[in-house]
Amino acid sequence: MPQTPESQKVIMVVDDSQTVRNIMALIVHRLGHQIVRTRSALEALSTLNEVVPDLIFLDITLPGMDGLDICKVIKGHPRIQHVPVIILSGSGQEFDKVMGRLAGAADHITKPFEPETIRKCVETYCGPSDPAQEGVWQKP
């Protein structure tokens, strides 16, 4: 069942991998939210001029400007600085996590990830999913 417009959030993913963007779209839709997908810093910043998402998943390695620099731009912009940013990276190294925190990111997720990790993160920063969505991936 789709969520009501009030509880439906807009979640942005910035990743140069089409596959990651597609997986994120499937997860976010399954949770009943909307997704905005962008593949580069330029696209992301351009989209953020038009859309203020409720949560941003940001890949650390992007063509042009990297995710950490985009995060700093977001955190320096009064209109969008309140939006939580989650860094996605292919490395679980402490250095990346620290750099993410320093750039203003709220959290860090290491790829590959499980849908459950994304769900928990979405619920932490956007509130609980619609009860109809609960246990959506529970195995029989």
Binding site: V20, I27, E114
Partner: protein, 179 residues
């Protein structure tokens, strides 16, 4: 400009049993975990820190292909149909330029056997195309395992995008580079 949102077009509702819906949900979850993992293997080819040599690319491709085969083997319909890599390749043998049964050991691609074939650098692209063909068939089996036609449609699109990315990355491998 951001990509269009995933379409939410209402389609004719299907009548699926609760069991079928639950099975689809479980398969969707497993497929997401699986795809997220193999995407990280594929990313190696795009990494600027790694040389795009045939030897490294072949090792990654074998790793990826064996993960896919392992995943498909666990699907109920594959189990029921007694799926095996050997049977799959035997059935499709005339369509492979280089790939043969000699490249399979213990139900998986053998990196050593493939390396022997790829000793001639020019064969790298031929054999990688053959392996991509196998991946395509395996992922199509995964898609068919969904009961819901909407999920089949979604996953067909997602896997097509993934395979296109892998194919493009493999094309960038320089057969003349040695490591």
């Amino acid at each position: 400009m951001a990509e269009a949102l995933v379409d939410n077009v209402d389609r004719t509702p299907e009548t699926l049993s609760p069991e079928a819906i639950q099975q689809d949900m479980a398969l969707e979850y497993d497929s997401m975990v699986f795809l997220s993992a193999i995407e990280q293997l594929a990313v190696r080819w795009s990494s600027s820190t790694l040389p795009t040599s045939p030897a490294l690319a072949l090792a990654s491709l074998v790793d990826l292909a064996n993960r896919v085969v392992e995943f498909v083997e666990q699907l109920p319909m594959a189990k029921a149909g007694d799926f095996s890599l050997q049977a799959l390749i035997s059935r499709d043998l005339p369509n492979y330029a280089q790939l043969g049964l000699q490249h399979i050991q213990k139900r998986r691609f053998s990196r050593e056997a493939l390396e022997r074939t790829v000793q001639s650098a020019a064969t790298f692209h031929l054999i990688s195309k053959d392996i991509l063909r196998v991946l395509n068939i395996c992922l199509a089996i995964n898609v068919k395992a969904f009961h819901s036609s909407e999920m089949r449609r979604q996953w067909k699109t997602v896997y097509a995008g993934f395979l296109a990315h892998v194919a493009k990355a493999l094309q960038q491998v320089d057969p003349d580079q040695r490591t």
